[in-house]
């Protein structure tokens, strides 16, 4: 953090301490503007040897490995990698449905997501990477470009704290994701925290498109415990939070079907994520954000693969 202490996030005072030992690794080599702790494919004599490859016409002769030529009578060139800086863009869904807390969670989904993204931002900036923030609902509300300048984390935290669920607003993933894709010139880490309600086929395509551009996409699928098991009793009139009407139902009678439907939806997103290369993390707001993040980081460790 380069001499500046992180701000605390309301409701989660010990989150940063708990995460201080964690180290975020990304799956792919990421192109960065500044030297950092992440490997880059940019070649430089002063940096670490990466591998041999066959010489091709046009390669700089200075890179030819003469010792290998002597031993094998073939032309190889040495490629080197250098430490590169990671650009992490944190996307926060601020639709009305994110304001749902339920009866058994300590905080709403939006509050949970703010903690989660704040911690992610802190970790990124602490290790010398850039972090940016996008808040959106039915349209994009904020775009804070990735940066690791001194004081940037404080700005990011200010925006996170100011983020509010938009009353009666639904989520427009497609426009936001397209805009993000157009703004990110280099391969980046994109962290999207959302409940995925109202996500469409176009949303899947947009996320897959980001992965296809070599961005590292992490999708936190956030749900309240009440959204998982529908614990209500008696006749209930369910009123939508995003101007999506109301339905009368007997939760006792439909609970089984509801769980089946939710399970099918989660399975669908798991398959979609696996196919597109999205790192999908299902989280429940009754859990601790630190534990979710720790589990995510542990899962990422050792998954570093070549592009």
């Amino acid at each position: 953090m380069k001499g500046r202490a992180p701000r605390s996030i309301p409701g989660e005072p010990g989150t940063f301490d708990a995460l201080s030992h964690l180290f975020i690794e990304v799956r792919h080599a990421i192109e960065g503007f500044q030297g950092g702790t992440h490997p880059s494919l940019h070649m430089s004599p002063s940096i670490e040897f990466a591998e041999h490859r066959r010489y091709e016409k046009g390669d700089d002769l200075r890179t030819v490995d003469w010792k290998a030529l002597a031993r094998t009578d073939r032309h190889f060139v040495k490629s080197h990698e250098r430490e590169a800086q990671l650009a992490g863009l944190l996307l926060l869904d601020c639709s009305a449905s994110m304001d749902y807390r339920g009866s058994r969670a300590a905080m709403s989904k939006l509050a949970f997501a703010r903690v989660l993204l704040g911690a992610m931002g802190y970790l990124l900036i602490r290790q010398g990477d850039a972090a940016g923030l996008v808040t959106f609902a039915d349209r994009r509300h904020l775009y804070l470009p990735p940066s690791n300048r001194p004081g940037h984390f404080a700005v990011l935290m200010d925006h996170l704290v100011a983020a509010r669920a938009q009353e009666d607003c639904t989520t427009d993933y497609d426009t936001t994701l397209k805009e993000v894709a157009s703004r990110l010139g280099q391969r980046s880490m994109i962290v999207l925290v959302t409940d995925l309600w109202n996500a469409s086929k176009e949303t899947e395509i947009a996320l897959s498109s980001l992965c296809a551009r070599q961005h590292d996409v992490v999708l936190f699928h956030l749900l309240s415990p009440d959204e998982i098991d529908l614990p209500f009793e008696g006749r209930v009139q369910f009123v939508g939070m995003e101007k999506d009407g109301a339905v009368d139902a007997d939760p006792t009678a439909i609970r089984g079907d509801y769980r089946d439907e939710l399970k099918a939806l989660q399975e669908h997103w798991r398959r979609t994520a696996r196919r597109a290369g999205i790192d999908l993390v299902s989280a429940v707001t009754s859990d601790s954000p630190a534990r979710v993040l720790a589990a995510f980081a542990r899962n990422r460790t050792g998954k570093r693969t070549a592009p």
Binding site: Y100, W197, G234, R235, V239, A253, G256, E261, L265
Partner: protein, 694 residues
């Protein structure tokens, strides 16, 4: 269905809160929830299932409540079953013996249904145990008890049974069973029973009566096979076809209830106890035939007649009595309210002359004129038509007599006088309430408008109204409009105000002329058409009287007799020659009394003693005949084994008993409760399964 604890049925009121709670459950809690797309998909998919489940649960819960409530009321239903030997605890029995006319039918051995019924009753009496109580009721209309009450002493019961004779009454099974049921309500024995011994004819009791019975009903039929029967159903008497005053046409209708055609059935007519005519009839199977007789009587007055056919095994309906009231002329009584003897100014000067003028080829009119005071004591029975001319305020006594006269079928013609009117005692029969008296402002008068030329009164005016169209009325009455009255305007003024109005009251008719019948208010009496108008009005009103048949009632039915003011004695002479007298005390302040002792068929003659008339005077119009009801001639069995009875040994027997069904209802309630539990757990089970999978 009957209930031992009917107050328990109040539990059914719990249905209301149950239904209310079900409907209220629709909107209990409102929850803002994000996962609407899933919920909506499920609710749409399960909408029909949810509605069905909701209705099913509501129906099941209501059914459970009804079943337990009904079971608590301890219901039982009445069912028929074959009769058998009774056993069990002490019994109170009401023995109903059918003594209607049909019980006179005889079997092949010449035994009547009634004697067989008595034999069976005696046998039943022997079967009863000493501690069993018995009562006897006769089922003819009206039902009447034979004993004073329930008794365990067999001797008076046997004596009463032995003294019974068949009657000519009409069967009234339903009322007899109801009365027996009422008698048994006070019985203190564990078992109660109604034993109905009958020939199986006549209408069975309605289902409502059977349902309401608390006692067992045992029906025993003594005549399982009905004999062939031919009966005289009706005798009509009317004026003869030739139009002579002493000639009468007598029409006899005979019904053949046999399955075979009856050929050359002998038939005899007796008049005044003398053979008058004889003939034969052919009657199709199951059909009727009519025989017409025409007879010229020697003199006017009441003549007695009887028609008789060849006897069969049901003799009670092979003879039918009738009376013929032969009159020499149409009697008209004019009650003159403005009596000025010998003067053309008299109210009835023109009227009496118009009526007394003989019309060739028609019955003469015998006109009698009285003042209102004399009219109060003048017998109306001999009159055909009464004119109330210029009587502006009839006394209450006269008003009541006139109303009774019209309601009994008489004809009344009313016209106003010139003084103030007060017809309140006649209001119930008048064709309308008088609204006002209207006077023409000029010296002329109101002219007539439309007339109902299709009406019998104007039927002879097709060639012209002979001056009626030129009449004027300087003054006439205005009537209140009243659509509820059955009245017809026969003639009206140019402005549609009624001139001559007719109203039918019961079987009588009333005509109201809204102006005077003398020249005080109108020029009508001096028009040439006045004479035929009055003559036709009288004959039209008299026709209603002529249409009336001599009074004939079924055996057992009460007959109304008119009482005239001042009448000192009224005597009814029965067919057996017995006089039933009503003294002056009984007649005081009465306009009508009912003669109930019509148990024997035949002719009942009526005599009265009036002041100034000397001895007894026969009231020929009041005479009546009593005959066996044609219903009793129909010997078709209305009770059959299909009702659950048994006639295997030649004696039909069926028992209507009460089967308790509360145990079945309790079982049904338990099963319904089980079904409700399964149905209500249906959603929960699915929910729990879902929880396990998550």
């Amino acid at each position: 269905m009957t209930f031992e604890s009917p107050f328990s049925l109040l539990g059914l009121l719990l249905l209301l809160p149950l239904i209310w709670l079900h409907l209220r459950r629709h909107r209990e809690t409102t929850v803002r929830f994000p996962a609407m797309e899933i919920l909506r998909r499920i609710v749409v998919r399960r909408h029909l299932e949810n509605r069905t489940r909701f209705l099913l649960l509501l129906i099941l819960r209501a059914a459970v409540l009804c079943a337990f409530t009904l079971a608590a009321a301890r219901p039982s239903i009445a069912v028929w079953r074959p009769g058998g030997i009774r056993s069990g605890p002490t019994l109170s029995q009401v023995m109903i013996i059918d003594d209607s006319a049909s019980m006179m039918q005889k079997d092949e051995d010449g035994r009547s249904a009634f004697s067989l019924a008595l034999t069976h009753a005696m046998a039943e009496l022997d079967r009863l145990r000493p501690e069993d109580a018995v009562h006897i009721l006769l089922a003819g209309r009206p039902p009447r008890p034979v004993l004073d009450g329930f008794t365990t002493d067999r001797a008076p019961v046997a004596a009463a049974l032995a003294s019974l004779r068949p009657g000519f009454r009409t069967n009234d099974t339903e009322r007899a069973i109801e009365e027996a049921s009422l008698l048994l309500q006070d019985a203190r024995t564990p078992q109660t029973e109604i034993l109905f011994i009958t020939d199986l004819c006549g209408d069975p009791p309605s289902k409502a009566v059977l349902r309401g019975l608390s006692a067992n009903l045992r029906v025993v039929g003594t005549m399982p096979r009905a004999p062939r029967n031919v009966s005289i159903d009706r005798v009509d008497v009317a004026a003869g076809a030739s139009g002579g005053p002493l000639e009468m046409a007598i029409s006899v209708r005979v019904t053949n209830r046999d399955a075979f055609r009856r050929r050359l059935l002998p038939l005899k007519l007796f008049l005044d106890d003398q053979p008058a005519a004889a003939g034969t009839m052919d009657i199709p199977a199951g059909g009727t035939a009519t025989k017409e007789f025409s007879h010229r009587f020697d003199d006017k007055g009441l003549h007695r007649g009887v028609v008789q056919i060849e006897g069969d095994r049901m003799a009670a309906d092979d003879r039918r009595w009738f009376t013929a009231d032969v009159r020499r002329a149409i009697n008209v009584l004019i009650i003159n309210g403005d009596n000025r003897p010998g003067s053309y100014r008299d109210e009835t000067f023109y009227l009496s002359r118009a009526l007394e003028t003989p019309v060739p080829g028609d019955y003469p009119l015998a006109v009698q004129m009285v003042d209102p005071e004399t009219a109060k004591v003048t017998p109306f029975e001999d009159q055909s038509v009464i004119f109330l001319a210029g009587v502006n305020e009839p006394s209450p006594a006269l008003g009541d007599r006139l109303v009774a006269w019209v309601e009994a079928g008489g004809g009344l013609f009313v016209s106003p006088g010139t003084g103030p009117l007060s017809w309140r005692h006649l209001q119930t029969v008048l064709p309308g309430r008088i609204r006002a008296t209207r006077k023409h402002p000029a010296s002329g008068g109101y002219r007539p408008g439309a007339m109902d030329l299709a009406h019998p009164v104007f039927a002879g005016f097709e060639g012209g109204l002979t001056g009626l169209e030129n009449l004027t009325a300087a003054t006439h009455l205005l009537l209140e409009p009243d659509p509820s009255l059955d009245r017809a305007v026969l003639a009206q003024f140019e402005d549609s105000a009624p001139l001559l109005v007719e109203r039918k009251v019961a079987s009588g008719r009333v005509m109201l002329l809204t102006t005077t019948v003398d020249r005080d208010w109108t020029t009508l009496p001096i028009q040439p058409g006045f004479l035929p108008l009055m003559q036709r009005s009288v004959r039209y009103l008299a026709a209603s009287l002529d249409d009336r048949q001599p009074r004939s009632v079924p055996v057992g039915q009460a007959v109304p007799l008119e009482v005239v003011e001042g009448m000192r004695q009224l005597i009814v002479r029965t067919p057996g020659g017995r006089n039933v007298a009503f003294s002056a005390n009984r007649l005081a302040d009465q306009t009508r009394l009912w003669f109930k002792d019509t148990s024997a068929p035949g002719i009942y003659r009526v005599y009265s003693r009036m002041p100034g008339y000397g001895g007894l005077v026969e009231q020929t119009a009041a005479a009546f005949t009593v005959n066996v009801s044609p219903e009793e001639s129909d010997l078709t069995r209305t009770w059959s084994p299909s009702d659950g009875g048994d006639d295997s040994d030649g004696l039909y027997e069926a028992v209507k008993g009460h089967l308790p069904i509360w145990s079945y209802l309790l079982l049904a309630g338990i099963l319904l409760l089980l079904a409700e539990t399964i149905a209500s757990g249906w959603g929960l089970r699915k929910s729990h399964l879902g929880k396990g999978r998550t």
